[in-house]
Symmetry: C2
Subunit: 664 residues, 2 copies
Amino acid sequence: MAELATGKSRHLVVFQPSGQRGYIAEGTCLLDAARELGVGLETICGRMRTCGKCKVRVEDGQFDRYGITSSSSHLSTVSAKEREHLGGQLSAGYRLACAARVFGGVVVFVPEESRAVKQVVCKTATERVINLQPAVRKLYVELQPPGLQDATADWERLARAMREVFELDHLSIDHRALLDLSPALRRGHWRATVTLWRNREVIRVEPGLVDRAAGLAVDVGTTTVAGYLCDLKTGALLSTEAIMNPQVAYGEDVISRITYALRHDDGLAKLNRAIVEGLDAIIKGATEQVGLAWDDVLEIVVVGNTAMHHLLMNLNPEHLGKVPFVPTVHHPLDIKARDLGLRAHPSANVHFMPLEAGFVGADNVAVLIAEQPYNQDAITLIVDIGTNGELVLGNREKLISSSCATGPALEGAHIGFGMRAAPGAIERVRIDLESLEPRLRVIGNDIWSDELDPAEIRARGICGSGIVEAVAEMFRTGIIDRTGRFVKGRTHPRLRTGDDGPEYVVAWASETSIGKDIAVSIKDVRAIQLAKAAMYAGAKTMMRRLGVKRVDRVVLAGAFGNNIDKERAMLLGLFPDCELENVRAVGNAAGDGARIALLDVDKREEADRVARQVEYVELTAEPDFEREFIEATHLPHMRDPFPNLTAWLAREGCAAVCQFKGDS
Amino acid sequence: MAELATGKSRHLVVFQPSGQRGYIAEGTCLLDAARELGVGLETICGRMRTCGKCKVRVEDGQFDRYGITSSSSHLSTVSAKEREHLGGQLSAGYRLACAARVFGGVVVFVPEESRAVKQVVCKTATERVINLQPAVRKLYVELQPPGLQDATADWERLARAMREVFELDHLSIDHRALLDLSPALRRGHWRATVTLWRNREVIRVEPGLVDRAAGLAVDVGTTTVAGYLCDLKTGALLSTEAIMNPQVAYGEDVISRITYALRHDDGLAKLNRAIVEGLDAIIKGATEQVGLAWDDVLEIVVVGNTAMHHLLMNLNPEHLGKVPFVPTVHHPLDIKARDLGLRAHPSANVHFMPLEAGFVGADNVAVLIAEQPYNQDAITLIVDIGTNGELVLGNREKLISSSCATGPALEGAHIGFGMRAAPGAIERVRIDLESLEPRLRVIGNDIWSDELDPAEIRARGICGSGIVEAVAEMFRTGIIDRTGRFVKGRTHPRLRTGDDGPEYVVAWASETSIGKDIAVSIKDVRAIQLAKAAMYAGAKTMMRRLGVKRVDRVVLAGAFGNNIDKERAMLLGLFPDCELENVRAVGNAAGDGARIALLDVDKREEADRVARQVEYVELTAEPDFEREFIEATHLPHMRDPFPNLTAWLAREGCAAVCQFKGDS
């Protein structure tokens, strides 16, 4: 026990598991001791002993190295409030840090749930560890009611309490939140929960203690829009909701939508209205799934390509479609939900993640912060598959990006029996090398067709991952050759000529819910070839630009990225050869990145920094792109070697069937 | 000429009339020299030589005390751009400070129009000198067009130029301004005028050079709403527009409107809608008068009592009407015009000046910054006359304020022939002591009735200042006595009994445009007595509270304040006795204060400071208020001495007629 000049005894306090320690004045509560020592402890009520969030466990026993004999006897006695909050946990040594005061040496353990910055695991296709520090947090305050002696206005009364209890100064309050302030304070008898954005703006005031806080991460794709409703207190994914982008009514791809906006007086207004209504539907669907209301959404993080970003902001996309492809803004922006016309909490801010350049947008930035190639030595190729394909290549030294108009085929659109990834969609296809009979997996059943009798959900179409696998399997089994042509002379009931030319039947009418045979035609194969050739040629062009001959890692991202089979994706020639164990399908990494930015505010600054560092390559301006594109229409490629693929095909026993210049 | 270690010659540059001087590196332009020496020079184009705003006059001749022989020969030769902008002024020694470079000692004179902070005289009832430094300013920039080598987004390109040319960093852009950004830059061929709010937020971007900038100051009174459209570049008053507050449909005074809001589900919505539509009408009227559009209004400063302030913000006024009279917010707030539903530029900010306490609102704060009693030794009583009367008393040591419900009589409402101050309203009245015949002044004629034959505009009613003068004159000439009763036994054609009891006819039907005699009845006299008694009793109660026996100065403010006759106001007993030469009628000082805050951003901080310093006195809680009120119903008062008034009456020759306990 150290005695300082103040005359007050000071005692050693040790916080585990961090080991932070120091001498603390006698009588100080553990919460203040933690603050003094820089230990982040959770609390939403300041130190009013109301929220019970600052639980710590007192480590009892001999701590010889600290000279501490018994921690629990060195703390103030257990208060009634602690009994109320802790109940049975009291006997396990738990205390409230705001109540327990120091009267001797103490060792305390801070459990995970009491840490101010918690780490959460985001369970997506890959598990990602996130520091939970959202922009939006809720704080509970109790105010002195006004009287004739203190007729301070409600806002100034609240601001004073926020300053005194949470040391938060210079707060502002949004106009819409101000409208609810006076009724909320009175309904809650001067106890209220304040929702704070970025520690500076009050965006909601609710009566009493309301712990629940939800935010939405949205990936606005050209074809698919996906929303992830997250609990901002725990980081948990509460619900997901996906819809077809309602803008498809005005054009299948980015360029056709920009053209629509240009050619029609109300074109921009219609496109904007469509996506705003789409997001409203996502907010409604995602909140209703978990019993929340639309105005419980307190922040939204949006990612999307440059055109989607501009159209949602209601910005004229005219110049995005013309050389030199200049966006209106590329830095991150926070815009009030009400200014965008979105039906979320009206004071909620919508955070638009930064754009890179050209069509490489905020979705790609989100992929970057999810995958962090800028923190690695390995040369990583990120292939983000969508109607607009985006590529990133590089490592901590340099990152370059590009985009290519792959078209919607890889998302299952513009395909004879194409549909989006929804129940009834064939998402996986295997064709037997000998019998040419397929095995399918249909979304909703979750097991292969031959393990299931009868199928619970019948097929009604084929989605992006399904068509990619089907074409790859048709190539592997020799139904089509490396140029994509149906091999002549093969006879089989499933091989026939349909309206669109030769086709392979993946499901007979009797197995479907649509009463029609589902087939993959030569036309579908051609669409897939063009799309994959664009991706491959882009990757090759970038590798030349960066001066690398091969890539160390390939990351396959995209709405269907977690369902894609990496061997078949490589067989199709979606990307250059790479060791198969270093190819990873990560699902919707853009959506993951949006969730990360929603839950960890620091990642927003990181995103802005990274977005500015990535160098954009305009593929169409590169000299060899057109030649690369033509060569890449072959399966997997006209001339590039694929040693890793060859090895796999040999293991699969189909090297002889699937002929290509694999090891020239 | 000093030579420094840099090796570059430095020359003495003197700026007149401030006399700021220093040694400046050879080759520096005068604009940079001014910056270096802290001389504020106007420029809207930075140093692009486009705006011609940074004109200075070179002072030639011998300046022995500076050792300068000939300024003009010590500057770079006159450039083509200067020739273009200065024309004939060249021969008078004018140069553009951004073009003229220093090659020797120079004395330059900065003319008023080139000073960054100009002083303007605000011509209201009293002349007020204002430092012209509005929150909104326009800056002209020329940008490098984008190209494949520099495809920076439009906003970041603009922000870069603002940083380079004006040294403005960390700018943000409002979402609505962002929507216009890309088209504006291209329409202006990359030359644009940027409207900046408080040096931090871009609120408008226009193609080319658009110098014009307008803002609106609004005084939202319970009965009258007045708007002042100001040129933010020159400080000039462009137009004024006044309307009856449309909320009068829901209640004549503050309390009845609060009650309306409480008792009807859509009460608040209706009251808010009414005042928003009222302000829209003012914006439309004021801008159309001078050929501007409603969206040329780039900032609005609003003052009003607490209830008007809350209702315009759409805040529930419930608690304003109940002890302890707590407002929702009292600090100043800036809210987007679009969030209030106002039809001004959608990115314009509406600045609500701070409230004091109770019903003493932002209008009173505006009066304070216009009159600045806090900068004076003299004890000043400010009487702000309106439906809700407000009083301030004190000096630099202490200021106290209070409010009293005077009712609308002093604004001409609830008076038999009352009307607002509009053409046709009798605004001044004199009654001849002998003949009891009146002389009138009607708004629109601007001279007295007997100097005009026939009257151009005929009377159709009587406004606030008219009724005050009429009652005072009736008392002065012995038509009514000190209790307000019509003196018995006097006979005159103008003295008769009407529907409301005894009355005095101020205008015969033939002289009016309404075909009816206009008279002042006993009922009108009583209404005025009650209103003036509330003001007087308030002032007396405050004097006791502050511990002063008399006041040094009286300031009469209010919508009709500039037309009020101070002798007659004192004779009525609107305020305690004071030397008449220290009584000043200043007109709508609240409106003046709003204009001052619109034109000089520093005054907003001053207002916030002062609003917090003024101590509010709740009159109804003061022990003697009721007795004071009853005593003050007499003309001018039941027992208080009025030595200054007595002297004046003696000079006027009517001391004998107008009997009161003037010098007890």
